[in-house]
């Protein structure tokens, strides 16, 4: 039987939040014990494909606070142009705010090639603790299951984070010829939940 909290969230999730692209995210965790360790690891493998994809990892950068440009539509992998530095604030308050170019536009403003995507009210880098760019599957997995480094989130909180943060939805519909993150947002949420139900296994766990 599902945990009451999970059930409650599942109900909210099932009610669904309409996404910008018209789809809903449903948070419906598998029954406890229904996911084997191997299935959990397979789910993690798919999660890693997402977290290490340029659409996600370009912003999950380290303490130099410099977002990256990489992936099929960017040519050579390099730091974000214009010498952009998001600062310790991670929103560029010390230099040029990310919002200067990534201004929010109700129309999305993200469908032209090379245009600064304008899909969220605030555009910012994730915390330094969530540095993913160039990291291994073991490193990202260890980070993502560590409450001290993942914003004190369990699988439901992670899934919920994916559900309501519009900047993350953009990763699956980036427009402008950009390559989207693999799978779909719903599949990714399902994988996170499956991984959690399986006990957050990571490769090379003893």
């Amino acid at each position: 039987m599902k945990h009451p909290l999970i059930l409650a969230l599942a109900v909210i999730g099932a009610a669904g939040l309409a996404l910008a692209d018209g789809t809903d995210v449903v948070i419906d965790p598998p029954a406890e014990g229904s996911i084997t360790q191997a299935e959990g690891l397979a789910a993690w493998g798919r999660i890693f494909e997402v977290t290490s994809h340029p659409r996600c990892s370009n912003c999950h950068v380290g303490p130099d606070n410099r977002p990256m440009w990489s992936g099929p539509s960017y040519g050579r992998t390099r730091p974000h142009g214009m010498n952009i530095n998001a600062g310790e604030s991670r929103i560029g308050a010390e230099y040029v705010q990310c919002q200067t170019c990534h201004a929010y536009s109700e129309g999305g403003g993200n469908n032209a090639p090379q245009m600064a995507p304008q899909v969220a009210m605030t555009w910012q880098l994730p915390p330094v603790e969530a540095e993913w760019f160039g990291r291994s599957t073991e490193e990202i997995c260890a980070q993502l299951r560590d409450p001290a480094r993942n914003g004190d989130r369990d699988m439901i909180a992670l899934a919920s984070h994916l559900e309501h943060d519009l900047i993350l939805h953009w990763a699956w519909s980036p427009g402008g010829g950009r390559e989207p993150a693999p799978y779909s947002l719903q599949e990714h949420v399902n994988d996170v939940l499956a991984w959690g139900v399986a006990g957050y296994p990571c490769p090379h766990d003893q």
């Binding site: 960017y74 040519g75 050579r76 390099r78 730091p79 142009g81 214009m82 010498n83 090639p113 090379q114």
Partner: protein, 746 residues
């Protein structure tokens, strides 16, 4: 008025350079001056003593017919006229003027004739005169090849002096005071009693006089403007965003168009389906033109959007589809069959030199795009007896011919309103965009049509810089370079460009060897050969043309030889520089400026390069530091000899701009083809240099040589100086542009 007077007044006799052609030929055709275009339709009471000065009661207008593509030549031309005409800076208007044979470029022969710049032999002078005569008879009005200053330097001062003396004569007639007792200052003739007669007040009387010819030019010690800083006449408008470029112009009742051509440049359009586009908002008309389709709409954005909705079936490219095939074609071109010319052969580069170490290396220089910030655009209005064109262009008279060929008018019926251009770098020597605008306008007679390229179409249709491969072979012995053999394979820019103007060019292409064979090094054994590669992408003049690629090859390879010899890069160049004393002093100057030889911190290195291009010896030292984030370019020192620096601030700005341009392209830029289409569609994939990457740039202008221009010469030494600096800092030798394929930059 006598018949002779009528002739000279119409024809004017300005220019010792302008009449030089007649000395050798002695033919009427060459000696005959061109008509003064300002006299056509000149208002009563207005004076136009020659093609560059028009004065009436309301003001003074200086005609500055060279195109201003951002390099500041409208100011420079005006300064030369104003210097002798005693005008206060800025108290005059300027106009680009109409296309006219009178504005033929007296300096084009310097680059048109395949001669060493320091060759002053009788044969060389005769050849220059011969080429110059041809340029004059054809009335070639052109801005390019860094020729504006050498073309203008004497001619426009003579024009100012002629106007000044004619105005003084008018004042003398009015007052009865001898001309020798009159002086000029601040746009007025001053009488001995202190009375000032403004030129504008004297214009009507002066207009009735025979212009005074052959006035001696002022001694440089009397110059007020030349050699001093002058705020560019466009500086306020450019700084405040109010200067109207061609792309900013509106003509009443104007239709707006954009186009889509076969992205495989020059190939045909098989068919298209515009049914969806025709139904889109704002679309007025879909027009087929040669090789593509234009959409005419109520605004340019609607036109561009509609183009994306058209389905096209394009013909394949006439050149190889894939980039690797382009390189393969170059590799296969070092053959006797493709030999275009042997430019230099002294000693014996094939001889075995006892104790010598022999080295070989191959270099690659990619296609790059021009990409001025202002995308191509033109407004054309076709009417029964006249065609008007508004655009920025560097070859006004050829433009008239190109448009006339489409519209069926005579060239004289084509009026060009030349505009300031937001950059060119060679792009506005091409005619496609004007021809296309004319084709669209032909289908909408009586209505002006403004054609504006999207940035993406501008990238797709650009004729890039020539792809180039260079092979060096050389020998060093006893710490010295003793043999230097360079072979260059590239498409001929001149033939490609001229073919689009319907002209063929006889003889070898000097641009294939530019930047290599003019190097002033007295190698014991030296050879330079060039090979013309055919069948590749059409190419076009790109800022510094042949030398932009060849300078990198020549000076990188020389640096490798010097390193192998164990010699100092600057000292060995100075030792070798025995053919031209002016060049030697430039090399010495850059050494002094940079304090060459001083100890540098670990990880910091300097590279030097010297290239002689467009008659300008230019030496450059680049300093870089290897950091964890990549190569940081710290400082650049650059010295060039242009004979006389007309405006020190503009000179410094042009040189600094050339260095930044050269660095940015060396680091970041290339055009590659896939499926016959340029893969780089916008600046994100063909980046300029960023502000934070830009080094301090220290500039010195030397004045020992001939009068020359500085638009292009700072570019060629920049990539090799950077590559040599990277080698000095890291030990990594980069033989291929763009460098970021091989090393990271901060």
């Amino acid at each position: 008025m006598s018949k002779l007077k009528t002739f000279t007044r119409r024809a004017f006799l300005v220019g010792s350079a302008a009449v030089a052609g007649g000395v050798a030929f002695g033919t009427y055709m060459v000696q005959r001056p061109h008509d003064n275009p300002l006299l056509d339709g000149l208002a009563d009471g207005a004076a136009a003593f020659n093609p560059w000065v028009r004065i009436d009661a309301t003001g003074i207008t200086l005609i500055t017919p060279h195109a201003d593509i951002g390099q500041g030549v409208a100011s420079m031309q005006a300064a030369l006229i104003a210097e002798e005409l005693d005008l206060t800076w800025g108290e005059f208007e300027t106009e680009f003027g109409q296309p006219a044979a009178a504005y033929w470029n007296t300096a084009m022969a310097n680059e048109g004739a395949p001669l060493l710049p320091w060759d002053e032999s009788f044969g060389a002078r005769t050849m220059r005169t011969s080429v110059s005569s041809l340029v004059k008879v054809m009335g070639v009005q052109a801005t390019g090849g860094s020729t504006t200053t050498p073309d203008s330097f004497i001619k426009l001062r003579e024009a100012g002096a002629m106007a000044r003396e004619t105005l003084k004569l008018a004042a003398s007639r009015r007052t009865g005071i001898a001309v020798t007792d009159l002086r000029t200052e601040g746009g007025a003739v001053h009488l001995p009693d202190g009375t000032a007669l403004p030129y504008t007040d004297l214009a009507a009387e002066a207009a009735s006089l025979e212009p005074v010819q052959n006035t001696p030019l002022r001694d440089p010690s009397q110059w007020r403007l030349i050699g001093n800083d002058m705020p560019r006449i466009d500086i306020v408008a450019k700084s405040t965003g109010t200067l109207a470029y061609g792309i900013d112009l509106d003509v009443p009742d104007m239709a707006r168009a954009s186009l889509r051509m076969n992205p495989r440049k020059g190939a045909a359009l098989n068919s298209f389906d515009a049914s969806a586009a025709e139904a889109m908002e704002g679309v007025e008309q879909v027009v087929e033109i040669t090789g593509g389709v234009a959409v005419v709409a109520s605004n340019t954005w609607y036109a561009m959007q509609a183009l994306d909705a058209i389905e096209f079936d394009w013909a394949p490219a006439a050149y190889p589809a894939e980039q690797a095939e382009h390189w393969a074609a170059l590799e296969a071109s070092f053959t006797e069959e493709r030999l275009d010319s042997e430019w230099l052969n002294t000693g014996n580069v094939d001889a075995d030199i006892p104790g010598a170490e022999v080295m070989e290396a191959e270099y690659r220089v990619p296609y790059v795009a021009h990409q001025p910030l202002e995308p191509l655009n033109a407004i054309v209005l076709v009417e029964e007896d006249e065609v008007q064109v508004w655009t920025g262009h560097q070859m006004p008279r050829f433009l008239q011919q190109q448009v006339a060929a489409i519209t069926g008018h005579t060239a004289e019926q084509i009026t060009l309103h030349n505009q300031y251009s937001g950059g060119s770098f060679g792009h506005r020597l091409e005619f496609d965009y004007v021809r296309q605008a004319a084709e669209i306008a032909m289908q909408m007679p009586g209505r002006p049509v403004k054609l504006t390229y999207s940035r993406e179409d501008d990238f797709a249709q650009d004729f890039p810089r020539q792809i180039t491969m260079g092979r060096g072979r050389g020998a060093v012995v006893n710490g010295q370079v003793v043999s230097f053999d360079a072979q260059i394979a590239a498409p001929s820019v001149i033939r490609s460009q001229m073919s689009r103007m319907g002209q063929s060019v006889p003889g070898p292409d000097a641009q294939l060897a530019a930047g290599v064979w003019q190097q002033p090094y007295g190698f014991e054994n030296a050879r330079v050969r060039t090979y013309a590669v055919e069948g590749l992408s059409p190419v076009s003049s790109w800022r510094s043309v042949g030398a932009s690629a060849n300078g990198f090859i020549a000076e990188s390879f020389l640096d490798e030889l010097i390193h192998a010899a164990g010699a100092d890069p600057l000292e060995e160049r100075i030792r070798l520089c025995t053919l031209d004393d002016v060049s030697l002093r430039v090399l010495e100057a850059v050494g002094e400026m940079s304090n060459w030889g001083e100890a540098l911190p670990d990880g910091t290195g300097r590279g030097v390069a010297f290239v002689h291009s467009f008659g300008v010896p230019t030496a450059e030292v680049v300093e870089v530091t290897e950091t964890a984030a990549g190569i940081r370019i710290d400082k650049v020192w650059i010295a060039a000899d242009v004979g006389r620096v007309v405006d020190p601030v503009n000179f410094e700005n042009l040189v600094q701009g050339g260095v930044v341009w050269g660095l940015g392209h060396a680091i970041n830029s290339e055009i590659t083809y896939s499926d016959g289409i340029a893969e780089q569609t916008n600046f994100h994939a063909h980046e300029g240099m960023r502000m934070h990457q830009t080094p301090e740039i220290f500039v010195r202008g030397l004045e020992n040589g001939h009068i020359r221009g500085i638009g292009e010469p700072p570019v060629p030494p920049t990539p090799p100086a950077l590559a040599n600096a990277i080698f000095a800092a890291t030990g990594q030798r980069i033989r291929e542009m763009p460098f970021w394929n091989h090393i990271d930059f901060v």
